[in-house]
Amino acid sequence: MTKKMKLSQLSDMLQDLDVESLEGVTIEGDIELNISGGGGLNPALAYALGSEISQISLHMANIGRMLGFPAEQLFASAFGMGEMPQPETLPTSPKIQELLASKFEVAKVDNWKNPIQEVTLGATSGDGGSRKSTVTLGGENALPYYFDAEMPHRNYVTMDVFDMPIGMAKSVKGNYEDVINDPAEWAKKVVREFNADMVTIHLISTDPLINDTSAKEAAKVVEDVLQAVDVPIVIGGSGNPEKDPEVLEKAAEVAEGERVLLASASLNLDYERIAKAAMDYGHVVLSWTQLEINAQKELNRKLMKQCNVPRDRIIMDPTTAALGYGLDYAYTNMERIRLAGLMGDDELTFPMSSGTTNAWGAREAWMVSSPLKQDSDWGPREYRGPIWEIVTGLSLSLAGNDMFMMMHPTSVQVLKEITQTLYGSIESEEIDITNWIGAEV
């Protein structure tokens, strides 16, 4: 038996059909529309009926279109609508009128669990020394300046002072000509005029191949520098592995209680003597290796286990190569060391120091012009040198370096400003960059 259905019911049914669910729908049998009443329909009813039928035909046409039949064309030709604007065809690329909402979220790193060891340099009168200020390095729980964790201490700069005149790039030398024969005055100058946080006194004249100055005489220079400035100091030897232990022992002795940084213990000299001197007279040891993470672990382990140096008295120097001269390795080495430390390798959780002055070894920093004819003009070297030292230091600061040994006043100033900007302590006027393209420069 055929079930009867009112037109409006059919219309409703079709209206309710979700287009997406039409897949697999089949229309079976004939649809018979029996419109009774002959021609005598009242106009209101005829209009209503016409409306219903048109609705049905629209739905039917839609079904036809989904089956692939160009129903629009049929309508257009049947009703002469060729000139009419076509309705939107298949809805593949609707014009987007509003931005689609999306919220930016990113997780913090969850495997940086080991804070970097805090190490303090310098001792005030309360701690048995004579420094007016101290410097604390380390304490990080994240890569430098990252939002994952507050960075407890900023980076510090210790400026180089030598115990004898040395060869220097011209643009560096210009700043020190008046003090080059007087380490104490030199030290004063870098603190007062160039804003050094610390001073490094390099006792290079002790090298047997240079002046072979005695350890005792060298120690006198250390005393002078300690008197001349009240910031923490670093004491460097000449780099001669036979002579350095003796020189640093004597220097450590005259600096007793000042908590200086002794530079350096390394695997190619008698590091035990240096470690012992640091323990005996209350100093910190710089653990220096050459671009090799496993050597750095080995030396740190020896200092801790074999020489009993406590963790808060070790700083690492994994070696700095200049920009363009191996900085790729220096950067990677430091970044790996810092990441390993943060992730729990407790042989590597120490603050790091960089001999950033090495940047002046790059010929781009000091040479008048390129020795190669094919090179483009290098421009004035007085501008090249400092930026070489800045970019070298800046790269390493991003890899995790805490303390910089530097030389050129401009480099020190710019490096301090950028590292402290990233650290978050530099206020400056806000700049509107929304229309930077049109800026007149």
Partner: protein, 469 residues
């Protein structure tokens, strides 16, 4: 990349060990897919129709987390993005930061052409090749589409380098696109006000487009999502580069966040990032300070995830460090950098000059070379092939032996007896123990130099020329 072990990649390969890719086994090929030294298309069998499904699956698994976007055409196409890691020692960073230097449409034509030429001709020799910069960014400062179109036309005529069209006015950008048809320029930029029009331009001309949402990562991500829905993934993200103070700190944080989210798998924001160190010029009046700060900001964002940047200073003291830091960060830290083995002249050596050798580890070689050159020691210097290992380690590991040294000397075509008056070699102090062997192999008078090449000048004073025996 969604997979990180060769075994995972191997499952999709034909496993026939046919050798077409140049590797002995499919497993070896798989490991090179993971370290990205081979492309999947190097496997010709997998391109056959029967492997289509596996190919597509593996291709999707191997796709880098950060989408790769191409700017320019032909030989000068610049690729940006394509990275998979946050720390370069884990894999290496791919596709060097592209450095674009600006010109603007209110320049006179002669100056513009000169500046474009300066940009495209700048070069600096480094580790066996020349470092160069990459792109020209044309800024619209006139607000006049016709003027901008003319400037772009001039740039296109002057250089084949990829270009960036910079304006927030869609009419101006359209003029630029018309003037650079077929060059696939990067559009800069869509922002919150013009995104519909600029998006349509990007689709119409089928070019990559930058999304600019200064210090608003929700907006940036929302724009990226919208553009993807509109039909393009050729997107570059500019979260705004603020040049000073706390704003710069915020910029730093934004860059880290965007890249971390992308690498962590948030596809909606996994696009290359643009930095605009140019803004340093909005903060500093004097050109030297502005150049310095521009270089400093450029260095920060070369290291931390800038894939492309727009700069202004074309002073060598700005460009040289920018080129070098970019090279430094994009050097693959997993492989030692080497120089070609052979004999090099330092300065202008004569038959009386010293003869030395070191290894072909680039760092060692260039250190020794610069120690000699900077002290004006004219000499002959061999780089002996040690597979790029330094002297001390190479002696210990057997990569540096008397036989290898003899071979290196012979292959360089230099004859100690004929080409020098002294028949002497100065060897690095770190391989002193090879002295006797080297004497036996070469028949030369072998002198042991210092352990550190920094001491060569002092050593030379005392020991050179060698005493006649």
């Amino acid at each position: 990349m969604k997979i990180n072990s060769p075994l995972e990649a191997y499952k999709f390969l034909p496993a026939t060990n046919c050798g077409e890719c140049g590797e002995q086994t499919c497993m070896a090929f798989a490991s090179h897919l993971i370290d990205r030294s081979h492309k999947l298309t190097d496997c010709t069998p997998i391109l056959e129709p029967k492997f289509k499904k596996k190919y597509e699956e593996l291709d999707a698994l191997l796709a880098p987390e950060i989408r790769e976007v191409l700017i320019g055409v032909g030989e000068n196409v610049a690729k940006i993005g394509g990275d998979d890691v946050l720390y370069r020692h884990k894999l290496t960073f791919f596709n060097q930061t592209q450095l674009a230097y600006d010109v603007w449409d209110t320049m006179d034509e002669k100056d513009l052409v000169e500046r474009v030429n300066h940009i495209q001709n700048f070069k600096k020799f480094y580790v066996g090749d020349f470092l160069t910069v990459d792109m020209v960014a044309v800024r619209c400062t006139s607000n006049d589409p016709a003027k901008f179109g003319a400037a772009v036309k001039k740039v296109v005529e002057t250089t084949d380098m990829p270009i960036i069209l910079c304006s927030f006015d869609p009419a101006v950008l359209k003029a630029g696109l018309e003037a650079s048809k077929g060059r696939n320029p990067l559009l800069y930029a869509a922002n919150k006000d013009n995104w519909k029009e600029v998006g349509e331009l990007a689709l119409e001309y089928d070019v990559p487009v930058t999304l600019f949402a200064p210090n608003d990562l929700d907006l940036l991500k929302s724009m990226a999502k919208t553009f993807e829905a509109m039909g393009t993934e050729k997107l570059v993200l500019d979260p705004g580069t603020f040049p000073t103070g706390k704003q710069l700190k915020q910029t730093f944080t934004n860059f880290i966040k965007v890249r971390r989210a992308g690498i962590d798998g948030d596809r909606e924001i996994a696009y290359p990032i643009m930095a605009v160190p140019f803004t340093a010029w909005m903060a500093h009046d004097d050109p030297v300070s502005a150049s310095y700060w521009e270089t400093v900001v450029a260095s920060v964002f070369t290291i931390k995830y800038g894939d492309i940047m727009i700069l202004h200073s074309t002073e060598p003291y700005a460009m040289l460090p920018e080129l070098h830091i970019r090279d430094t960060i994009y050097t693959d830290p997993r492989k030692p950098v080497t120089v070609d083995p052979g004999m090099y002249k330092v300065g202008e050596p004569t038959a009386d000059s010293p003869v030395l050798f070191t290894t072909n580890f680039a760092l060692t070689y260039y250190t020794v070379e610069s120690d000699l050159a900077s002290n004006k020691i004219d000499c002959f210097l061999w780089a002996i092939d040690t597979d790029g290992i330094g002297v001390e380690a190479a002696v210990a590991g057997g990569q540096l032996t008397a036989a290898k040294i003899k071979k290196g000397i012979d292959e360089s075509g230099f004859d100690l007896k004929k080409d020098t008056t002294h028949n002497a070699i100065v060897i690095p102090g770190l391989c002193a123990r090879l002295q006797g062997d080297i004497e036996d192999e070469t028949g030369a008078n072998v002198m042991v130099g210092p352990a550190d090449s920094g001491r060569l000048p002092g050593w030379m004073e005392k020991n050179w020329p060698p005493q006649k025996k």
